[in-house]
Amino acid sequence: MPPITATESPAGRSTPVDGTAETTSAALEQHGHGEIDVEALPMTVVHARRSFWRGFGEDVRDIWSYRGLLVQLVRKELKVKYKDSVLGFFWTLVRPMIQLVIYYVAFTLFLGNSQPAYAIFIFSGLVIWGLFTDIVGGCTGSIVGNGGLLKKTYFPREIFPLSVVGAAVVNFLFQMIVLLAALALAAVTGQRVVPTWDLALVPLALVVCVVWATTLGLFLAAATVYLRDLQHLIEVILLALFWLVPIVYAVTLPLNSFAANGHQTLLTLYLANPMLNVIAAFQRAFYTMGPEYTLQADLWPRLGFFLVVGLGLLWLAQRYFARVQGNFAQEL
């Protein structure tokens, strides 16, 4: 199937790129003054077949020209989530705060976990894992869930999953506020909170997480149209994955266990999980109370490697998406 259309848009995107934007906006200026010079506008093929290899750039330009819509949809997602509630957006902060308290009470008070500031440890991993699951889980149903809109209007279909990504990132940033507040509290109560160079890893880890989650999200959003079971399957898989990454337990536990039993391959596989490295970066940056509980490896090259691979896969996922998106409207 041919990928994304070459339709006209406010930014005047079309096959002959140069000069088009001016003509279109000039035509638009004439609102209410009658006559529009249509002949000045170029004739473009609707859903022009784009090359599998080179179509990515054109598709990205299309999406970019709809960035206004993307912003609107993200706002919608955020607004609708806490519609009609008295506390409204404040709930975004309440949920992680309660989580923090529960972890503290359950693990440190009840179970007597000796790890210092264990709540901070869990939360620094959970905050980025939450972003990952929000994106992957949200994207999976984003095309199917927006069927009504999709069948009646046209804009680049990637906008749907991308709006999920946008909303998830905003939510993540709010949760970061809670994490920072908790860190401040920990510092006041005498825990060891020191800024280290590992903080510089956070933006890179965040980008790696978003790239990989978006890649999976794009792929799953498109595939779910053809196989609805994926929606439920993903929920289960994400639940299982949660225990494959060191959030609740310290990464050193499985590492030592693998090493002691001589499972070198398993160890390598375990560490090859990009999300594990992302979480490790977050723990190293924010959980300074017990560095011995975090992954002691040089994360810069590892994250850099995952970023490059992730970007390659993102390209592939987008090409897959572009290939099948022409049939979305009829499959829903």
């Binding site: 006209e8 473009t44 607004k79």
Partner: protein
């Protein structure tokens, strides 16, 4: 010579009806998937060009492929084969308020919907007051749209859509919304669009609207273009087939010629005759004609009135009268008589009409009635709308 804004070139669209969307079915029906996938062609090899400024109507039966064609032009579906080209900005009004979200306020929805239709935030800011003014719901603009009445909802949605300022406007059956005053406003806006040389493609079942608005019509049947051209001819063709369908359907149901009333009298054959007295079912406007039917009374009836009514294809009463209203006192009846209504000039416009005849008492007790028995058509050369046929001239001083 105006340039084309839409070029549809040998476009076909195949749909697969494949219900295997779950893992269970995939496993259970493994191997049969190919056989299960039934496919059909919604459009077959359709080609046409639309020059700038044209108002094109797409008409056809349900399932004739007209909405599919509209979606292909709008880029919502991709053709199985063939190419659709177009230029300029397009706004598709396939469903009013498709992008509306009930939990957002009217204001927020205006911005969201405008963005879906391709406006930037700045442009929406510029049109915002116009949009709200056109919709006429200033008071409620900051209310969540889920509290709107359906009328308010569509008014706001339509208002956004027409302010998007497109070169091409696609409309699918959405004009039949709102109260009459608002519909008028919409039609006025569409006329303004036409005057500004914008191109409009719309799908509708409202044939009168087609005749009123379009300067070209494409009649589709099972995915093929049957007629491409003059609206009058196309509307005539589709009315004829609808009529035939209705007749065959009625025949299939074997309705005994709908005879109603208390049975004191009965009505026999009903005929329509032209000026020379021969049976006719098609006339030009303003021709003389006669409606003739037999009535039979088993017993002697002194108090009786005979009437006729003419309805159009929309079951709209166009004309009705009876002997009492015409000031005739009918003589007592025993046995069979023939009733004739002579019309010196049948002033009806283009369309399909049905005759209903009845006999009843002066108080309205119905002795016998036959609904929609004689069907006839009026073919007119004059462009007009509505059932009445007038031949006005216009003068401006």
């Amino acid at each position: 010579m105006t340039a084309n804004v839409i070029a549809v070139d040998q476009v076909s669209k195949r749909f697969k009806i494949n219900s295997n969307k779950s893992l269970k079915e995939l496993v259970v029906n493994r191997g049969q998937t190919k056989a299960h996938a039934t496919e059909f062609w919604a459009l077959k090899d359709v080609s046409f060009d639309v020059p700038a400024g044209t108002t094109l109507g797409l008409i056809g039966h349900n399932g004739s492929g007209k909405s599919t064609l509209l979606k292909l032009v709008g880029g919502i579906l991709t053709p199985t084969s063939g190419v659709v080209r177009r230029r300029g900005r397009l706004a598709a009004l396939l469903e009013l308020g498709a992008g509306f979200h009930g939990d957002l306020t009217g204001r927020e929805n205006v911005y969201l919907n405008a963005a879906i239709l391709g406006l930037s935030r700045r442009q929406t800011d510029r049109y915002f007051d116009d949009i709200v003014a056109f919709s006429g719901i200033e008071k409620f603009i900051d209310t969540q749209v889920k509290f709107y009445s359906s009328g308010m909802y569509v008014r706001l949605a339509f208002s956004v859509a027409i302010h998007v300022d497109p070169e091409i406007l696609l409309i699918d059956e959405v004009l039949a919304v709102g109260d009459e005053a608002f519909q008028r406003k919409c039609l006025d806006k569409i006329r303004t669009f036409q005057r500004e040389g914008r191109t409009i493609v719309f799908v509708t079942h409202g044939l009168d609207m087609v005749r009123e608005l379009c300067d070209r019509v494409i009649l589709l049947d099972h995915g093929n273009v049957v007629i491409d051209g003059d609206p009058v001819a196309a509307v005539r063709a589709i009315r004829d087939t609808w009529q035939d369908d209705a007749v065959t359907e009625a025949a299939a149901r074997e309705i005994p010629e709908a005879e109603l009333g208390n049975g004191q009298m009965s009505i026999g054959a009903v005929r329509m005759l032209d000026g020379s007295g021969s049976p006719v079912s098609r006339l030009a406007p303003n021709q003389p004609c006669t409606f003739e039917f037999e009535v039979d009374s088993a017993g002697r009836t002194t108090d009786w009135v005979s009437g006729i009514a003419i309805e159009n294809h929309l079951d709209q009463l166009c004309y009705g009268t009876n002997s009492g209203l015409l000031g005739e006192q009918l003589a007592p009846i025993l046995g069979s008589r023939t009733v004739r209504f002579h019309v010196p000039a049948l002033a009806l416009g283009e369309g399909h009409y049905h005759l209903t005849v009845a006999v009843h008492s002066h108080e309205g007790i119905e002795y016998a009635r036959k609904n929609r028995v004689a069907n006839f058509k009026i073919y007119s050369d004059r462009e007009q709308v509505g059932p009445a046929y007038l031949e006005p001239t216009v003068e401006v001083r």
